[in-house]
Symmetry: C2
Subunit: 131 residues, 2 copies
């Protein structure tokens, strides 16, 4: 399988509260998730913090993207317990040059918690025909 | 081919059923919304059909994006009744070089039905600090 070591970016919403309203930036679940994913050093995936991916009602939230790839936003993620799921999903995404991972190959959580997807900015665009 | 670096693109999910399970592609609410928006000829905005933006539970769905801009996904839209809202929101977006429209200047429907947002692929990235 061809590798794409620098093409994939994993965005993590660092401000997600997951219902916690303490307001402490350092202990927000989103910030915790970001630090855990940055420490996980997923092969070929750059982890980037983002202040709000605007999926506040269904966090924690990540997005996978890269040049020439579909961008996928996933929600309903928990720090600690979902790290392996995210790593597995990110790896599948990295292996798909256009970011389109066949439905059955996605982690179950990704299949059930896809918030949105966006086609690549540059054509050509093909679709898996999701509905 | 995109011939203008600051062009704004309005993506429309053409497969949205809005609960209608007839399966007729031509009369799907998403397809109707796309045709209406394409006919509306919003100044400076290219309307692009997309087969599924994966926001099926909260359609109809659009996204606004462009090079160097934040991408915003909006849901809960109805063909016919929400055309003016979409046109107004798209115009505000077009006027913001980075796509970040101040909260109070967004149409009310956009404020209440933002599904997700994604920072531009290329830095620099600044944030409005949404939560």
């Amino acid at each position: 399988m061809r590798d794409h070591p620098s093409a994939v970016e994993l965005l993590v919403c660092t401000r997600c509260r997951l219902g916690d309203v303490t307001g402490d930036e350092d202990v927000r679940p989103g910030a915790v998730l970001y630090r855990q994913l940055a420490d996980a050093a997923i092969q070929g995936v750059t982890v980037t913090p983002v202040e709000c991916l605007s999926n506040c009602s269904r966090g924690c939230t990540i997005a996978l993207r890269g040049p020439g790839r579909w961008t996928y936003v996933y929600g309903g993620l928990q720090p600690c317990t979902d790290l392996d799921t995210i790593a597995a999903g990110a790896d599948k995404y990295r292996q798909a040059p256009d970011g389109l991972v066949p439905w059955r190959e996605r982690p179950e959580h990704f299949r059930k918690n896809c918030i949105a997807r966006i086609p690549p900015l540059d054509p050509p665009v093909r679709s898996l025909g999701e509905t």
